[in-house]
């Protein structure tokens, strides 16, 4: 296996010199999912955005399939990478179908071909194209919107998907459904995924590897099992924070 995405000592500082990323290095193997975990403001989103050159690192480099993205044409690069963010990412003036096909439209694909492809993608994410294709985002539920967003990311046949808290705005049950859907799709399609979240459960469920960012530094990079068993204080604190409910419920029972 080779690295589909590799970060080599990637740093980023704002114009005022405030460091947001500090020499981050790790690799994402082809066909695997790496979850970037961390608090708000830990630099997760910034790191994700260095891959499609939405953010230019101030130090180090990002490699896609061994080639630095610095030399790539940003438009072509972005079209070749799927991108999903929280539900705000759909264009309110476009139907679900047009949202899905927008990248293809931008590339100049013929209308008929694009419509067929969009419809296929909508079915792939569990939305009947005949019912939902013509609907506008405000006529869809949060979960349905997120499905459309996922279909859009898959439209360009991207090998790499960047997902920035894709399910963050959903209720826990819908979120679980979406996680199942994503897992199912990834199992079939062999995409390389970089997913940002602050939800440990999501990280453990979806991630082949978990990267923990803390104040712009890479605090850990390990598998889900190791993460749970780690005694490293920072990781243990994370695990504890997520299992508090369980622990306190157990205590109530005991008392």
């Amino acid at each position: 296996m080779s690295a589909a995405i590799e970060f080599r000592r990637v740093s980023f500082a704002t114009g005022r010199g405030q460091p947001l990323l500090d020499e981050i290095s790790f690799a994402v193997e082809e066909g695997t999912t790496t979850v970037v975990l961390g608090r708000s403001g830990s630099g997760k989103t910034t790191l994700l955005r260095t891959v499609n050159r939405m953010v230019e690192p101030t130090g180090g480099e990002v490699l896609l399939k061994g080639k630095s993205v610095r030399g790539a044409d940003p438009i072509a690069l972005r079209r070749s990478i799927g991108y999903v963010i929280q539900e705000t990412g759909l264009f309110p003036h476009m139907t679900a179908e047009r949202n899905v096909g927008l990248v293809l439209e931008a590339k100049g694909m013929e209308d008929r071909e694009r419509e067929l492809r969009s419809q296929d993608l909508l079915s792939a994410v569990g939305l009947e194209a005949r019912t939902f294709g013509g609907r506008y985002p405000h006529q869809l539920s949060g979960g349905q919107r997120q499905r459309v967003g996922l279909a859009r990311a898959l439209a360009a046949d991207a090998q790499v998907l960047l997902m920035d808290e894709p399910f963050g705005a959903l209720d826990p049950l819908t979120r679980a459904e979406m996680q199942d859907l994503l897992k199912h799709l990834l199992g079939r399609m062999r995409k390389t995924v970089l997913l940002v979240t602050h939800d440990l459960d999501e990280a453990l469920y979806l991630g082949d590897r978990i990267v923990l960012l803390s104040e712009g530094r890479l605090a850990a990079e390990l598998g889900p099992e190791e993460f749970l068993q780690s005694e490293e204080p920072e990781l243990a604190a994370y695990v504890h924070a997520f299992h508090r409910g369980e622990v306190s419920a157990a205590e109530v029972k005991r008392a």
């Binding site: 438009i75 705000t88 931008a106 360009a156």
Partner: protein, 213 residues
């Protein structure tokens, strides 16, 4: 009444067409200037305040004075219609400029960031995302400008540019209320019709969740 219409009907129709032509030409010029300028301001927000402020100052010049100022200018002053169109254009700038700027500036920055992340070029982002999302705002500005200009265009008759104001000025000069109404009523109806038509267009281009200011 019917005798009145018989006497003035033809003239009213002619002057209405003239009125529409003055206003329409001014709206075309104003749109051609103010929409690109408004878009440009969203790229250079630092200029927004002074430029919109300048358009605002134009707006405060009394219309009769504006026509008067323009009349002695070379080329412009040769034809009254030129003076009228330039003055009306000046009045129409502000609402269109302001709404274009506000309409684009108010777009959720997340959406623009997504458009970029999906690999849309700058031009695609503008035509596929920004313009459609700001469309109803721009039309709302156009509507305000048109209604204002239909009203102001009646004053253009004072410098001999024609339009429905001619009947009003003649009526005032000869203390003839019927004649005043013969100009005023069609002018009011014209303003209402423009308001209705552009309101419809605005409604057509609205985007759910984004209401014109």
């Amino acid at each position: 009444m019917s005798g009145f219409l018989e006497q003035y009907g033809g003239e009213i129709a002619e002057l209405t067409v003239e009125h529409l032509w003055l206003t329409g030409a001014a709206m075309l010029f104003a749109t051609a200037i103010a929409v690109p300028a408004g878009v440009w301001l969203t790229r250079r927000p630092r200029w927004a305040k002074p430029v919109i402020g300048a358009a605002n100052v134009l707006q405060t010049i009394p219309s009769l004075a504006m026509f008067g100022f323009l009349l002695p200018l070379p080329w412009l002053g040769e034809r009254a219609a030129r003076v009228a169109i330039v003055a009306l254009t000046a009045y129409a700038l502000l609402p269109i400029l302001r709404n274009t700027y506000a309409g684009i500036q108010g777009i959720d920055p997340n959406l623009l960031s997504v458009a970029r992340a999906l690999g849309l070029t700058d031009a695609q982002r503008f035509f596929k995302v920004e313009l459609p999302l700001a469309g109803s705002f721009i039309l709302a500005g156009l509507r305000t400008a048109t209604v204002t200009c239909v009203g102001i265009a009646t004053i253009a008759a004072a410098v001999g540019a024609g339009g429905l104001g001619e009947l009003i000025f003649r009526g005032v000069a000869s203390i003839d209320n019927e004649l005043i109404l013969a100009g005023a009523i069609p002018a009011a109806l014209l303003a209402l019709a423009c308001d209705g038509a552009l309101g419809l267009a605005e409604w057509w281009f609205r985007v759910p969740g984004r209401d014109p200011a």
